[in-house]
Amino acid sequence: MTVPDTFTNRLLGRVKLTGLLSLAAPVLAILMAGLITAVVLVVTGNPPIETLTLMIDYGSTPRSLTLIVNAATTYYLSAMAVALGFRMNLFNIGVDGQYRLAALIAAAVGGAVSLPGPLHILLIIVVAVAVGAAWAGIAGLLKARRGVSEVISTIMLNTIATGLGAWLLTQWAVPVAGSNNIGTKPIPESAHVPGISLIPGAPNKVFGLLLLAVLVGIGFHLLLNRTRFGFDLRATGRSESAAVASGVNVKKMIVWAMVISGGVAGLVGMPQLLGSSYSYSLDFPAGLGFTGIAIALLGRNNPVGVAFGALLWGFLDTSSNILNLHKVSPEIITIMQGVIVLCVVVAYELVHRYRISAEQRRVSRELSAPAQAQVEGAGV
């Protein structure tokens, strides 16, 4: 039975929270997570307040801020890809494989051709989107045609992507200068996306493709809330049975949602590829797809919420670098991130229950006010 108001639906943000309450849950979660982390710090013999001050001090230097924004840009794209599936009840666990394969093939194509600047960039991005979309589309087709759970198929496709990527890399690889690393042929300068000096006083620049992440966020909002496609997608996520009765072709929607989610996933590696490494090598960042799942949950699959989540994650990751110097294990940050996700689950549930009863009270109050008066009047 498709009861829309299920725990998963609330968890995945298909059930909305309004007004201040939508802020209350994540704030509550982060406070709770902070408390638990503090306990862990105390237990491991570190002063919690000092450690936090240390992280904030380090994390608020211009150089760190730039690093935070750069990390957040990548996380944001990854979380948006996950969120799109989540809004339709699809768990795209395969963002990880999708973006790695997309970045690899896009890097190889980018290194092999030479085109005028903007066209070159566009080509690389289009290739990445196409590869990500195609890879995710396999899972979509399997689900629509054969009923294969997308959770299983995307996890398997991740593994296949790892193997396929390793093999492709050996086919296309050139040695990276000055190391025994191998990577794709470097992308010529025409396709480098210049950084932006966003943070005053910072020696480093933020990724130029930050703008791409912003566009994806705006596009996500428009697609979901302002288009028929988005309506059908949300309707299917909320109640598949109602969507079918309303004429939505659910199988088609499954394939399209996976394809779009994979397309966004294809963008995840782009800021790094076109703004910093210019080549896909063995040390290209991995695991961003899983970070995206956590951030999508934290941001309730909402473009603005996810942006905050991505920045928070970026801050935690960046500022954890300082902890080693002060003999605090940086794994404490991993603990904190894990605890945040758990707290988010709990806090959203609490706030949701409060909101449902508050809404019902409000409706019955507003409806009963005139009726009440009538009865009272009739009774006289």
């Binding site: 909320r238 049975s241 109602a242 079918v244 009270r361 409000r362 409806l367």
Partner: protein, 524 residues
């Protein structure tokens, strides 16, 4: 005489003197939730060994009252007396200890356990502190079953028994825990007519043995048939206590809504000779093989005609509706306004002017966690005023939702509240308003007034009649025989996936129709 007003405080204190006969008495019960009074000054006196019915519209406060009586809510004011002595319940366990048991509308049984295991679940008899004493439990169950004539076999799996029997298991479960006062919440909602009769026999058996039954329902005919006393609740308070022998269903309904009641009758024919829908040789094989779900169904609906389909549930009504909507695959021909739509998708059929009021509004007709104006778009995603090209027209959709709310009297504080916050009747009015929008040529209405209160029911009938007069063709599926006979111009009876009889609604009684539905009239 007809209804007499509910006794006020003065009278009820006199009644309290004869407390030896009173099983349960509620005095001035008031329950406030923040901002709203759910129950106000409730007076109820249930005589021992009676079947006491409590009737009222949806949202009148019946369930709150029962929750108070069963210890799930505590009243803010007032007193509950059981067998004459005041009680205060904190949890249902207190109520059970006082001999009050509740049989919920939705059964709470584990399918893969036996009747015996289900009955003892949660209060298992122990032998030597650890071992389960199932032997003693089996004996006790047999004893209870025989004493009250329930006919329950303790050793069959629950998944193997029918709905009526499951209900008896639920009743037995409560009796097993020592209840002497049973609360039955809408017990007939899940039963087919002959099961209802069996239930009533069981209930009479129970009261003969001294059990008291509080029976909540809004099926007035059933209430009149089975109850020894009736209390009517309206807007959170008891408005009348009536004697079923001296009151008609109509008077009772008027007490419930507090106003004169319309009827479903539509006699002046508006049927034209223009065919709106033609279905020819519709078949749907069963997925598991065996008897087809639909077997060679053919029917024609003209503009301005209501074609009613009668039948015991599960005889192909749902399949017929879904086949015509293009939701489930079928063979045969469907022609809408002269166009063959057999191969069309659901969306295209909707765009061609087929409105659809689904049987299960919460699963198929609404997005419960979406605001009303988004629910206005559902099923009309491609049509004005909801969309412009690929874009959702928020302004248009919102304005049109306001129109529906106003025209169809949807009681809501606004169009931004979630559909889940509305009562069932108001949800249904929203769906009816939505499906009537955009000048449909055909409306498929499956149980359009099921589970809605009398007021909403009358409003929905009015809208159906108006649309019919304006030339709408309606396929009406209903389990409410009065509704079918009253609204339909033509009636067909569906049995085991086949149309077995054509009935003229102008001269058929619900009894005749009922026997046709079970196949008794097949030979005739």
């Amino acid at each position: 005489m007809g209804p007499r007003p509910c006794p006020n405080r003065g009278h009820s204190s006199r009644e309290a003197e004869i407390s030896t006969q009173t099983a349960v008495a509620l005095e001035g019960i008031t329950k406030r939730f923040p901002g709203v009074v759910a129950n106000r000054d409730i007076h109820l006196s249930v005589t021992k060994g009676h079947i006491h019915a409590i009737v009222g519209e949806n949202g009148a406060g019946k369930s709150t009252l029962m929750k108070i009586l069963y210890g799930m809510q505590r009243p803010d004011e007032g007193e509950i007396r059981v067998d004459g002595s005041p009680v205060s319940f904190h949890t249902p366990a207190d109520a059970i200890a006082a001999g009050i048991g509740m049989v919920h509308q939705h059964f709470m049984l584990a399918d893969n356990l036996t009747v015996l295991e289900n009955v003892v679940l949660g209060s298992e008899p122990r032998k030597a502190l650890v071992a389960l004493d199932l032997g003693a439990a089996r004996k006790k169950i047999k004893q209870i079953s025989d004493a009250y004539g329930l006919g329950v076999d303790p050793d069959v799996l629950v998944e193997d028994i029918g709905v009526g029997q499951r209900q008896r298991v639920e009743i037995l479960k409560v009796l097993y825990r020592g209840a002497r006062i049973l609360i039955l919440d809408e017990p007939t909602a899940v039963l087919v007519p002959h099961e209802v009769d069996e239930l009533f026999d069981n209930l009479h058996g129970l009261v003969r043995e001294g059990i008291t039954i509080i029976f909540i329902s809004h099926h007035l005919d059933e209430v009149l048939k089975v109850a020894d006393a009736i209390t009517v609740i309206r807007r959170g308070t008891t408005v009348a206590s009536v004697d079923p022998a001296t009151v008609t269903a109509r008077q009772l309904a008027e007490l419930m809504v507090g106003s004169e009641l319309p009827s479903p009758e539509t006699r002046e024919s508006t049927v034209t000779d223009e065919v709106a829908l033609e279905v020819k040789g519709l078949c749907m094989p069963a997925e598991t093989g065996g008897r087809p779900l639909l077997d060679d169904i053919s029917l024609t609906i003209h503009r301005g005609e209501v074609l009613g389909v009668a039948g015991v549930e599960g005889n192909g009504q749902a399949e017929l509706v879904e086949a015509i909507m293009g939701i489930r695959a079928s063979t045969g021909t469907v022609i809408l306004g002269g166009k063959d739509i057999t191969d069309w998708t659901t969306l295209r059929r909707r765009e061609a002017g087929v409105g659809y009021i689904p049987e299960d509004r919460q699963r198929h007709g609404l997005l419960l966690e979406a605001p009303l104006w988004e629910n206005r778009i559902l099923g009309h995603q491609t049509q004005a005023p909801n969309t412009k090209g690929i874009w959702i027209d928020r302004k248009g959709a919102r304005a049109d939702t306001r129109r529906i709310v106003e025209q169809y009297d949807v009681r809501t504080p606004g169009i931004d509240v979630d559909a889940a916050a509305l009562s069932g009747g108001n949800q249904q009015k929203l769906i009816v308003g939505r499906e009537m929008s955009g000048d449909p040529v055909l409306l498929i209405a499956a149980h359009p007034t099921r589970g809605v209160d009398v007021g909403a029911q009358a409003a929905i009938w009015d809208h159906l009649r108006e649309a019919r007069a304006a030339g709408l063709a309606v396929l009406l599926i209903s389990a409410d025989l009065d509704e079918l006979i009253g609204l339909s111009d033509t009636l067909k009876v569906l049995l085991r996936g086949r149309i077995v009889a054509d009935v003229d609604p102008a001269n058929v009684t619900p009894q005749q129709l009922g026997s046709a539905m079970t196949g008794a009239g097949e030979a005739a």
